[in-house]
Amino acid sequence: MPSWLTDIPQLDRTTLVGLRRSLDQAYRSFSREFGDDIEAFFEPLLFFLVWFEKLLVNAPWWAVLIGVCLIVWALTRSWKLIAGVIVAFLLIGFFGMWEDTMRTMAIITVCTLISIVLGVPIGIVMARSNRVQMVMIPILDVMQTMPAFVYLIPVVMLLGIGKVPGVIAVVIYAIPPVIRLTNLGIRLVDKEVLEAADAFGASPWQRLVGVQVPLAMPTIMAGVNQTIMMALAMVVIAAMIGVRGLGQPVLQSITNQYFTQGLLNGLAIVALAIVFDRVSQAYGRRIQKHRRGVIHG
């Protein structure tokens, strides 16, 4: 029996090692060559991250709480949510996790903003062209299923450990939902309403900002919501490459078997997740005023 029937045909060991070596080598020299430039490119991001984190950490706790409540009020007009936020943050403070929570909030906020700023336009482009969609969908699938550790490697090789690689890793992991749902939302906009926009002479831009994006908004917001949840889920993994916040005590607890510390920090992440989730959902509903109320004949 020929050998390829019993064993799957396989590169021989030396070729395989050689392949790995040369690819790694190539990437290493690439990162040596351009690492500094790329780092410089992300400099403003780092600057902003540090500034924002300091702001949250150094401000008195009550000022932060008031600020958060004001934002929640502006977005949702819901007293119940505000009460929930106050209780959650007081408990977090009470159990000594205030500072870590502030750091995590800072990075999650920045990651979410970046995801929206990049993701919504990408989703829009995808919705306009079937070809772009065909290319993007498998890329998004890979981004969502590739274990995060795998793409941490090249990011760390390129940028070392720290906040910026952390943000990049989180964004790679968390951005797909906002892209997907922007694409979906825009594709689902009522064709007849679009035809009406055309019939009244709307330019492509007027049609996009006046009709497509507003009507896709509930779907886009659902994507933003998922993106935030996924970003929070990355907190612990991001901690492995030096992102400070609630993830680090969790990592520590794993290595040292501190069950309670792990649980408390985990719960703080859950509390943040619930707050972000409820606020983004309530905001999503509130901008859909026209869907409320009865239809009367």
Partner: protein, 350 residues
């Protein structure tokens, strides 16, 4: 005669992967069904030529799938034709650049849709303002104009409602307001009233006729309802499988349907509401007494007058008072119940 406001010439539309090739077959007269079965293309419209004079209502009728929506969408070029031309005010719409076309749609032709197609996220006021926003007018001007239309189409009190909260009739008022607000002199109405209940529909027809008496737009109005067509249309074109099978004024279509397809459309119509006394009168006789009417009076109204005066005759007079013809009760009755053309009596006998 003056040039028509809108002239459609030899318009063809074939839907499918390769319309340029299929159009040869269409010109050679392949049937719609064969085109679909054997060549995988759908015939939208075939060789349509239609002149629409300004300031009048052209009705287009036909069964579902006969190409009405396709035809009307060529006028503002929401659909590109496979061949032919659409000339508005002497200018070929199909040769306009993107920008010219946008300006044309913004300022010269607006549209009302069967399913209303309002913007669900905009209030009544914002919907009516839509075309003006697209035109780029300033807010004060928009406010002023919209307020006028809210008044005119009786939507006061609903300014800040969202369309989803309004009844169908109200929504279509908004649709009409949105179309009229741009001051375009061409109005395209694709089955604008078909989705409404009969009573509301009748109301809306009245609204449209009132507005038209004042505004004198050039309107293409699509419907599959003959009563509506006869009430609204100055002229009617009947479409079948993408072709115009008959066109003319309402009376001629009722009196002389060219084939069974058209005859089928008109068979249940109240003829007294369509036929004018001038078309059935006989030469004047001296002894005839009775009410005097002008030649454009509908038979229904003549019959009512004769009944009121218990007269067996009516006299048809010119503006000068000169009697130009007479009709008897029997003439009127016969024309109101009988199909003017062949076959009417035979059908009754069956």
């Amino acid at each position: 005669m003056a040039d028509p406001k809108i002239r459609i010439e030899n318009l063809y539309k074939v839907f499918g992967p390769n319309p340029e090739r299929a159009i040869g077959l269409v010109r050679d007269g392949i049937s719609k069904q064969d085109l679909l079965d054997e060549h995988g293309h759908v015939l939208g419209v075939r060789n349509i030529s239609l002149d629409m004079p300004g300031q009048s209502i052209q009705v287009v009728m036909g069964l579902s799938g006969s190409g009405k929506s396709t035809l009307i969408r060529h006028i503002n070029r929401l659909i590109e034709p496979t061949a032919g031309s659409v000339i508005v005010d002497g200018q070929n719409v199909l040769e306009m650049s993107n920008k010219e076309l946008r300006d044309f749609r913004r300022n010269r032709a607006s549209m009302v849709f069967q399913s209303f197609a309002l913007m669900p996220h905009r209030t009544v006021v914002q919907n009516i303002a839509y075309g003006l926003t697209i035109q780029g007018l300033d807010d004060d001007e928009i406010k002023r104009r919209v307020a006028r239309w809210i008044e005119r189409i009786e939507l006061a009190g609903y300014e800040d409602h969202y369309p989803g909260h309004l009844s169908g009739g109200m929504q279509q008022r908004v649709g009409i307001g949105r179309a009229l607000a741009t001051d375009a002199d061409i109005l395209l109405m694709d089955e604008a009233f078909s989705a409404l209940d009969p009573l509301i529909r009748y109301d809306m027809q009245s609204v449209l006729l009132d507005l038209q008496a004042e505004l004198k737009k050039t309107i293409m109005f699509i419907t599959h309802d003959l009563d509506e067509a006869l009430r609204i249309g100055d002229s009617i074109a009947i479409l079948r499988d993408g072709e115009i099978v008959q066109q003319g004024d309402p009376q001629s279509i009722v009196l002389h349907p060219v084939d069974d397809y058209v005859a089928d459309f008109v068979k249940d119509i109240n003829r007294g509401k369509v036929i004018k006394v001038g078309t059935i009168m006989r030469p004047p006789t001296d002894e005839a007494e009775g009410p005097a009417v002008d030649a454009d009076t509908l038979l229904e109204d003549v019959a009512r007058l004769m009944a009121n005066e218990r007269s067996g005759w009516a006299r048809v007079i010119e503006a000068s008072g000169q009697v130009v013809g007479v009709v008897s009760t029997a003439d009127v009755m016969a024309s109101m119940v009988r199909r003017a053309n062949n076959g009417g009596a035979a059908k009754v006998a069956q």
